[in-house]
Symmetry: C2
Subunit: 350 residues, 2 copies
């Protein structure tokens, strides 16, 4: 592992990398209050669907610490309130609500008899969630290896590395794992406007891991496919519906259409914690609109004239028909996804 | 017309808007030396295929003024040298070489007997080129009107307005003309990384002309098509091959693929000066690679980590099969383009 950790629990506090400062500076920020953690998720100090889930889980551990409840019932109530606050921080990634629901389920166990016991359970479950994501990432990388040819040229969108996941990464983990397996890969890195997670974070991570790469403007990916040749596209996911429709960072859908036109395999990569069987299709997924300033500016540079309206959908939906496969720690799902995802999720729950 | 002019001839000098400073500042720069004009084209003080052609033509008028030749032969030689310098400024837009070739042809007329006569011819031809582009823009806007439904929602890429063309614009001229005809149009404006001509220049121009618009990240266009609904895409062109393949600003091809997937009509818009019948297909068009700093930075803000390689193709090729029609001042060409463009160009030469 390279020497940086997006989300770390340290005794009684949570430590996050402030991902807004990268690649210029590697800054760690310490949190002791779960409401500050909700703010950190909202303002994207931490981002990436699995990393958000882990962070929220440790936010619950902070809420347990902070509570002055003297009996189990009162502490359970405080924790449910904290879960509501954390859950409201961002709407699209399911991992946030998935992690919170896991903790709320554990703390509702009637066999827990003491306040201290309950607090220990919250931290234990948060650690279990982080361990799950780490193991999932590793397994995902292994599961994907057979799909990656020698000398593979990838296109990757947004950031899905250790910063986004807590482990080796999801889609970026596939690339890093293939690199470590000696496959001589090269990654074209979409810069990913408006927040530039590709140009800022993915390029930085690939430097840390020594993976050859080239940063391109988002609009150049189709041109690269037409002129350079690309073996596969890999992207992360914020929520996968039961039919395979996938919500991911804005620009993913456009990339999927370009891949489709060039017969380039297009893989969605994520842990089963990102699959939401309660949602039938992408039409039911809420798409977060983020502040106009993210588009009217790039970092601190003003771009658009004052007064020009801006739309800033943070995610888009890629319909399942454009997705070659969905790579998870439980295996790779192929169409028809209604069946293959249901089978994967049944395995995941065992 | 709104009160700004990208390219103006003033007695013995050329005045350009420094488009790199917009939308923050409207700065005019005056040129008296054709080599400085070549630099202005290279560094994108002025950009946009037709505007580059007009600028180069007036650059020739400056070269004629600058020459200390005392006979016609020597002046013709100076002018051919100046044409070579100007022609090397940027490779992809054909309008540059088209305008220079027009002037070189005129000054080679054996009936011109005096140095002053020859200088007058150069300026006369430069003015004629500007007048041609102005008339073409107007006619293009009229020709396109029947394609634009009431309440049309457009997606537009890069900048193709008065700043880029010298007249009302090509693709943006279609939008402005439809707006002025009372069609209640709305334009989604791709910001167009890396140089942000959409977010900076098109948004500014649509403000000047009072056209309702919304700026989006390039990666959001496909999502807008899927969720909001778009009636037509209009883009400019830097060189159209005889088979209809079109070189235009990087990201155009990606937008065309998104339009194709949503059955959104995709129109290329330009004067016949942009059609290069000497080039059989897009594969023969040279794609300019521009400095990495345009991608590693947005305006003056650094994005990528030091040391991450960048690719910066400035244009891409949209294959003709994704183009619904090519709108010119001579009419609208539809597939098969080999035939329809040949017919248009025959009309243009009459």
């Amino acid at each position: 592992m390279a020497a940086y950790h997006a989300v770390t629990w340290e005794e009684n506090k949570l430590r996050l990398i402030d991902q807004r400062a990268l690649p210029g500076e590697l800054i760690y920020v310490t949190y002791r209050d779960y409401e500050d953690v909700a703010d950190a998720i909202r303002s994207m100090v931490v981002r990436g669907a699995p990393a958000i889930g882990i962070t929220a889980a440790y936010g619950m551990a902070l809420a347990a610490q902070q509570s002055d409840a003297t009996d189990v019932d009162a502490l359970q109530k405080d924790l449910r309130n904290a879960a509501d606050v954390l859950n409201a921080a961002r709407p699209t990634a399911v991992n946030l609500s998935w992690a919170l629901a896991r903790i709320v389920r554990r703390v509702s166990d009637p066999q827990i008899e003491t306040v201290d016991g309950l607090k220990a359970v919250v931290l234990d479950e948060a650690r279990a969630i982080q361990a799950f994501e780490e193991r999932s990432n590793e397994q995902i990388g292994q599961n994907a290896l057979s799909l990656v040819p020698e000398g593979a040229v990838f296109v990757h969108h947004c950031n899905t590395g250790p910063l986004a996941t807590g482990g080796i990464g999801t889609a970026l983990g596939v690339i890093i794992t293939a690199h470590q397996a000696g496959k001589n890969v090269h990654a074209y890195v979409d810069e990913t406007r408006p927040r530039l997670q590709g140009g800022r974070l993915t390029a930085w991570e690939l430097q840390q891991w020594g993976v050859p790469h080239t940063v391109i403007a988002d609009g150049a990916a189709a041109h690269v496919m037409r002129t350079v040749g690309v073996d596969l596209c890999v992207v992360g996911c914020d929520r996968v519906a039961a039919n395979g429709d996938t919500a991911n960072k804005i620009g993913t859908y456009s990339l999927a259409l370009a891949a489709h036109a060039h017969d380039v395999p297009f893989y969605v990569v994520g842990p089963t914690s990102t699959i939401d069987m309660a949602v039938a299709s992408g039409d039911e997924i809420e798409i977060e609109s983020r502040p106009a300033s993210e588009v009217s500016h790039a970092l601190s540079c003003r771009i658009t004239p004052e007064g020009s309206p801006v739309a800033n959908p943070a995610f888009d939906i890629t319909p399942a028909r454009y997705i070659t496969g969905i790579i998870t720690e439980q295996g790779i799902a192929y169409p028809p996804y209604e069946e293959s995802l249901a089978a994967l999720m049944a395995d995941a729950e065992e």
